[in-house]
């Protein structure tokens, strides 16, 4: 038997029979695209003219000085069109859909960034678009729902289970098994059945290729460390893939520590050693689950990190010792966000702020001659309601009350 898409003991394609032919077709189309040099050139060109690539690598002199350690550089994925690294993956899959002749795209979304990016891609390519989003995430990320709908997508709130990302993924699969003849499922991260981890990783690899070139230009040497937040793991794998062969560059993935690793309210699958080997949502990885194999509820202040599983590629890199995992709590994340805004004028997404929070804890160990890169996977303006609530900002609350009154609340 040919077991495809494995990274060590993780990965695979545990899919219902009805999707067997769909995956065969997708594997063939992706393999043909990868083998066609014009496809990658066309992809890079599209990202340059539509999504501000290459995104800059920004030096942070104030933070570097204040923390007294390595020079801090930030890879600016927030400057992608739609405000996050998600654009890289969806535009690549959009080009693939064109080659396959599909006319409808479906996607799941947690924080909403992948949903907004997919809706944008659908508008650009002229595809019909349906986005599945946990009802809880719809409440948390209302501004992104607004944009998806304005971009022409239908947003379907999922009221099953914990009403978060994992439930949105299940619902997207249910749609796909009914409509696969004209529909592509644009999965948003380096998870799910083969070939999705490889395919999403291929497109997100652009981040790492650019970052490696840019840090060499800026510093004349490779960074000591690269930090990235890990939900599913697409921004992390994207930037880390550029440095995997550079054994001296330490790679650190930062998961959602939520209310603390002992609280039972987090999404730290690897850092807290709470993840157990399992098979769900079409692939084998470390999942937060109970002794019976039932998936558990997760928590994070950042909707995009609030996921039960983790990329099989990252699970393998963790097991091999190539990527070190850590976690940042909700509270640490808010403090890091505040500090980053005031020191550098950058507004990272709550997801990205996990990477900042953990980097701030560690950079003092390094010397000013060294550098670190933090991947700023997305921008934080989408989180304005969550952040304002967390900071308890009185003038914002007064504004919301006033707006509520205007709408007859």
């Amino acid at each position: 038997m040919n077991r495809q898409g494995y990274y060590g003991r993780w990965g695979g394609a545990f899919i219902p029979e009805v999707l067997h032919e769909t995956f065969r077709e997708l594997n063939a189309a992706f393999a043909a695209a990868k083998a066609d040099p014009a496809f990658w050139t066309g992809y890079v060109d599209l990202m340059a003219t539509y999504s501000c690539r290459p995104t800059p690598l920004t030096h942070c002199p104030n933070l570097s000085r204040a923390l007294g350690g390595a020079q801090i550089y930030v890879k600016r994925e927030d400057l992608n069109h739609t405000g996050a690294h998600k654009a890289n993956n969806v535009m690549g899959q959009g080009l693939l859909m064109q080659r396959m002749g599909k006319t409808r795209v479906i996607a799941e979304t947690g924080a909403g960034q992948h949903g907004v990016a997919t809706a944008t891609m659908a508008a650009r390519f002229g595809f019909a678009c349906t986005i599945y989003m946990g009802a809880e995430d719809v409440r948390r990320q209302r501004p992104n729902v607004f944009w998806m709908e304005k971009l022409g997508a239908q947003v379907v709130p999922v009221t099953d289970g914990s009403q978060t990302l994992k439930d949105a993924i299940n619902e997207a699969f249910r749609d796909w098994v009914t409509n696969m003849s004209d529909t592509h499922y644009c999965l948003g991260t380096v998870c799910g059945p083969h070939p999705f981890p490889e395919m999403v990783g291929y497109f997100q690899g652009l981040i790492g290729q650019e970052a490696r070139r840019q840090i060499l230009t800026a510093c004349g040497r490779l960074p000591a460390r690269v930090y990235a937040c890990v939900g599913g793991g697409s921004n992390a794998y994207g930037i880390m893939s550029g440095f995997l062969d550079d054994s001296r560059v330490e790679l650190i993935g930062v998961e959602a520590g939520g209310l603390g690793l002992d609280s039972g309210r987090h999404a730290a699958r690897i850092a807290g050693r709470h993840g157990q080997a399992g098979v769900a949502q079409g692939y084998r990885t470390l999942f937060l689950q109970d002794e019976d194999g039932q998936m558990q509820d997760t928590h994070s202040v950042a909707a995009g990190l609030d996921y039960i599983g983790v990329s099989p590629i990252l699970a393998d890199l963790a097991e091999a010792g190539r990527v070190r995992f850590a976690a940042a709590t909700d509270q640490e994340v808010l403090l890091a966000l505040d500090r980053t805004m005031k020191a550098e004028g950058l507004i990272p997404a709550l997801e990205s702020a996990h990477a900042f929070a953990h980097a701030f804890k560690e950079v003092g160990e390094l010397s000013p001659e060294e550098s670190v890169i933090i991947n700023m996977s997305g921008r934080g303006d989408k989180d304005i309601f969550t952040i304002a609530h967390a900071f308890g900002d009185p003038s914002w609350q007064a504004f919301i009350r006033e707006r509520g009154r205007e709408y007859g609340a």
Binding site: G12, F14, L19
Partner: protein, 256 residues
């Protein structure tokens, strides 16, 4: 007797067999017990016992909700195994397990199969385990006398169907249409052509499920398949009218 022979023996006396489906622990094992008795009394030939899973990707809204409610009410895999043993002892028809990979893997594949054998379970259906991923498990199940039931879909090619049949035992479960459980299926010429393709690809008995609701659906399948499968609709009947309505509903399906 192995499952395939049991089915052939039953089938020699009837034009078509009926298989029903229960989500264990939904709404409770006590209600499951009453519903299963009503099913057996109504003349059901086989029963699928679904061990709930939190992420049932092949199931539609009715069974999905039943899975979630059962888990929330505290059902455990060990209780499902015990309940299965009790049902096998109480009723003289074959019982099967249906669940998802993770339940089996977390329990331990061999341990799970051994406990299924000890309970008297005759077959196992794992809709998210294609042979590419589960050849070893499927072979182990066959070796232990638990028939691995594999699934055909309308999108399966003839070559694929033959490959699947090579890993299966007992019978083949033919999904009547693309999609998840519980939505309406059109019982039409396209379905007949598809079932003809299924028949040509294997000598194993054929079961047909997904979307069966009426006497006419069962009549349509008679002569084209060996087993009609009713899943979501019995759950709807229990939800709407209570366990006592199951018997009359099934008697109506079978025209008795």
């Amino acid at each position: 007797m192995a499952l395939e022979e049991r089915i052939r023996a039953l089938r020699s006396k009837k034009d078509i067999l009926l298989m029903t489906h229960i989500v264990l622990g939904y709404p409770s094992l006590a209600v499951n017990r009453r519903v299963i008795k009503a099913m057996v009394d109504a003349g059901v030939d086989l029963i699928e016992l679904q061990i709930p899973f939190s992420e049932p990707m092949a199931d539609g809204p009715v069974i999905l909700k039943a899975n979630q409610v059962a888990i929330e009410s505290g059902i455990r895999v060990a209780a499902c195994l015990d309940f299965a043993r009790e049902m096998v002892q109480a009723h003289p028809i074959p019982f099967l397990f249906m669940t998802y990979c993770n339940i089996v893997f977390r329990h331990g594949e061999e341990a799970f199969l051994d406990r299924a054998v000890a309970a008297g379970i005759k077959g196992v259906i794992l809709p998210d385990l294609p042979p590419e991923e589960g050849a070893d498990f499927l072979a182990l199940a066959r070796a232990k006398g638990v028939a691995p039931i594999l699934i055909y879909a309308p999108t399966s090619t003839g070559a694929r169907m033959r490959e699947l049949a090579g890993h299966a035992a007992g019978f083949i479960y033919c999904v009547a249409r693309k999609g998840v459980t519980g939505k309406a299926t059109r019982f039409d010429a396209d379905l007949a052509v598809y079932l003809g393709r299924c028949r040509a690809a294997t000598s194993l008995p054929l079961a047909v499920g997904f979307g069966l609701r009426s006497r006419e659906d069962v009549q349509f399948l008679t002569g084209k398949a060996d087993i009609a499968v009713v899943g979501s609709e019995t759950i709807r009947v229990v939800d709407r009218d209570g366990p006592d309505a199951v018997g009359p509903f099934l008697a109506g399906l079978l025209g008795r």
